[in-house]
Amino acid sequence: MARVILHIDMNAFFASVEQVANPMLRGKPIAVIGAKYRTVITTASYEARAYGVKTGMTVPEGRKLCPKLLLVVGDNRKYTSANARMLDVFSRYTPLVEVFSIDEAFLDVTGSVKLFGSGADIARLIKADIKSEIGITCSVGVAPNKLMAKLASDMQKPDGLVVIEPDDIPKVMEGLPVNELCGIGPGLTASLSAIGIKTCGELGRACASVLRTRFGIIGERLKLMGMGADESPVTPSEEEGEAKSVGHSMTLGRDTSDRDELAMHMLQLSEMVGRRMRRNHYIGSVVTLTIRYSDFRTFSQSMRFKKPVNDGLDIYLLATEIFRHIRLMMKVRLVGVSVSGLNCGPMQVSLFEEDRKKAAATGAMDEINDRYGEFTVTWGTLISRYRHKGVIAPAWRPDGSRRVDY
């Protein structure tokens, strides 16, 4: 029996939520931005998209296309709360929900068809629930697998519902450009084009051994993708594997080359990373510092601990050790700190009293911050920390180690 998979994609999610919350924004071209003094658009409303305004544009670029563009500083708590309500709706129809990002999810409703009707019927029910309970629209793709469901939801926006039946797949794929498929980016598209493959139909008919030679282990998967085949299951977040790293980054309020200021941001990020590691019982052995210059050039450098840690100060000290060896070429726009080489489990109890005292102090701080909120007790240096709202990372998940509270 063919599976019935839904891909649900909220339409212009952040902008739609803002338009529901504020009636003055409805029907107007708006752009949600990450911070008041930063100029990159994170989401544009459909009214703004009609002028050509897109995610990733700077505000001046957006305003050039749409002089009446209204700017709204995003509030991530609104969006994560809306995501929780979305998941509540989905859970009424199936327990098999895979959160793909803050505004996208896959649902396996194969086992729900007898209860609620066909995949299209379930999609209509979910669309109606989302509209009445959250006030926003979504596009739904219904297909026998995740790859085709994602493709289907992209075919009709906003407020779309597209069903791809198993028998329709060869016809849909035949003339479809390969870059329309989720997972085939510009680099892979160019590489496929170089060997004469431009459409999914051509990809599906390509010789598997040629693809394997050219692209390695993903070669056969590419052929299957070209044929519209995808056996990957819908994996609820509680079944996802362990995290490979824990990290935070922040785009600064203004570009700077002041090393003291950058060190303060690293301390804040290190504390956030340490908190999240301890909450999820991780210890890690490699710290990576990421710097993005004002011209968007980005680089990362890593260093290994002698023993695994999860304390913010330890992470910070290694991050600053990395930073000490970096000669800044220009002002910095973004700083990131992450820890990898993770292991799950308790820290080894130190033989030294000083270490035990430090661990006890960290535990006490955690208890206070759990009770009263992040940074209630923290380093004096961080009193003047940058209270940025941040941007929700694509890897964000509503629970587990990838959950970040905003």
């Binding site: 708590r77 709360s81 009263y372 992040e374």
Partner: protein
């Protein structure tokens, strides 16, 4: 405009939900004509319920702390249509 001020609120608690009906801010009483959006967040163990509340031509961001039953006004969006 971001604000963080304590306010007095008249609210209706019904069927497990809370809805602000009016609030007093800086000595003036505002009647809430519509709650356009609600969302939740947490600060430590305290749960906060946020409301986008319309009064007159403006939209006010109100927050109810379920831990200490306190209300705050967090922001106001003023009508720019004139």
């Amino acid at each position: 405009m971001d604000i963080n001020e304590s306010i007095s609120v008249g609210a209706v608690f019904s069927e497990g939900k809370v809805r602000p009906a009016w609030f007093i801010w800086r000595g003036r009483k505002y009647a809430v004509t519509e709650v356009t959006y609600t969302w939740e967040s947490s600060e430590g163990m305290a749960r906060l319920r946020h409301f986008s509340a319309v009064s007159g031509a403006n939209v006010y961001a109100l927050a109810y702390n379920t831990d200490d039953c306190a209300w705050e006004i967090r922001g106001v969006e003023q009508d720019w249509r004139g």
